[in-house]
Amino acid sequence: MARPRFLVLQLFLRSSRVQKKRAILTIAAIAWGTLALLLLLAFGEGLGLSLGKAWAGMGTDIAVIWPGETTVPWKGLPAGRAIRPRIDDIRALKERVPGLVGVSGEIIRWGTNFTHGDTTVNGPVKGVSTVWGQLRNQIPVAGGRFLNPLDDAQRRRVVFLGTDLATELFGEEDPIGESILIDKVPYTVIGVLIDKIMFGNYSGMDADHAIIPIRTLHAQYGSDRLSVLVLKPENRSGMKQALSEVAQVLSAKYGFDPEDDRVLGTWDTVETGKIRDNFLLGIKLFLSIIGVLTLTVGGIGVANIMYAVVKERTREIGVKMALGARSHWVTGPIVLEGLTYTLLGGLTGLVVATILVFVLSLIPTGDSMALDALGKPTLSPAIAATAAGVLGIIGLLAGYFPARRAASVEPAETLRYE
């Protein structure tokens, strides 16, 4: 014979209610656990986002190469020779190493004087190839641009300024189109770097430097030895291969053992990124474990109340069994009840967490680097889904075990007249 629809739900609605106070306490415990879980996950998410952004500030999946000295003899050449690639080697590398988004040289001159009006600031100037802007995420603020190939080919005297350097020179004034002196030679400002958080750096923060075309720098200062090479493969898995081919090309020209890893000091951000990601994953895992444990305590509270419920309702259960209730019609409503308390608590926790995260997002971080780096707690759909999943499992377990006890009730025993 057909069962009435939603029989378990109907039975649940008709079973006796627990004391309001006890129910509220239990729901509050779950709400607290959910809040803890959500906030910890949100904190981890915010931290991850801000770290990701900060590291991306230097450029993603790039490698930075510092030419150094040989440490082993090679084909009759002694150890201890300095290897200094030149500007022209960049073209050779571009032609001979396949699978690159780009490769750029970088010539750094420290202690350069930048002058605008009466203000003179001291800092590094870097001569770079055009593609460097793309590799190193040099995004201009609106109204400006980065160097282009013509700037380089025609050795134009144009400069792209770091944020802080621009502020020091120009204050509130808009620098774009203005003129500055770089070691007494006039340059036109064509762009200013956006304000960015940057964790990784070599040779100083991007906010403090001035960028000019590498050939312009050569023309002004005469130096054509590269301080640094920056490259990015089309695919991050191609990094190892690209680095080894760069070593081959340079080794053929300058005569060093390509296996001599002291010649080309390398920072492979794909490699370090993996470590960073693992570290971040560890933090997130740790935070979720704490959150889940807190929530589990709430779940134990629910299980407790449901055990008490089963004990109190033993006779009710016995009566239903005597009237022909199958065991899952007895256990179903109990599981449903445990789940209801858990989900009510979870919902409360979610609402409070959402409000808290919103309020936190309103607090300005000001100039604090530390707060900037911590990021803003962020609630994502993935976090909500995780919390919902954890709540569901805890709720089901919290109902399941008490329900099992209910199913083991011996009706004859409970209905004996006392």
């Binding site: 022909g324 199958r326 065991s327 004859a412």
Partner: protein, 239 residues
Amino acid sequence: MPANDTIIEMEGIRKVYDTGKIQVEALRGIDLNISQGEFVAIVGPSGSGKSTLMNLIGCLDTPTAGVYRLSGQLVAGMKKDELATIRNRRVGFIFQNFNLLPQITAYENVEMPLLFGGVPRRERRNRIEELMERVGLKDRMEHKPTELSGGQMQRVAVARALAMDPDILLADEPTGNLDTSSGGDIMELFHELWEQGGTMLVITHDAALARRAARQVEIQDGLITRNTVGTGAGPAASE
């Protein structure tokens, strides 16, 4: 083979309660047949095994040994859910302390076995109204048990026991918690139900009430000591 109209057929039924240290032999070999349309009173001193017997008949519990057929169906070896279905369809329980669920109305209490039996909503309503009418409580359907007198509660319990139109009504001291007049009313109701063709098994201490039954079975110390078929007793036989 039992006759077609045999509802209860018990042979050598024994029930041992194993409470760890002590083993209580509550029933020590019961042979009992009850046919369709009988009104049987079970009497006997306290602790003699009456309630134990009723629980076995109603499939609330299973015997330690012996053969039991309910409406020709062998009960031994049935699964829990099958026993639940038997309790739902074939027997109606009435308890000394009513055992109504306190948080729901009289209507919903009577509805409970109908829910378990899968009776559709409209049919349930018709059935409940008919039953409440029969026990004289049509105007109390929306009352909760606590808002009813003991006699009224027991009548709701009778309506609930009748809901699925069971083969037999089992009542354990149905008047034990009632004053003489409400107790009399309940016995009156049983008698009516019996006259309309119902099969009843009533446990009672009250000899006067027992005498209203057509047949008396006396149990002592787990054994049937007397099994008398009366001369078709009626309400008149009580005084």
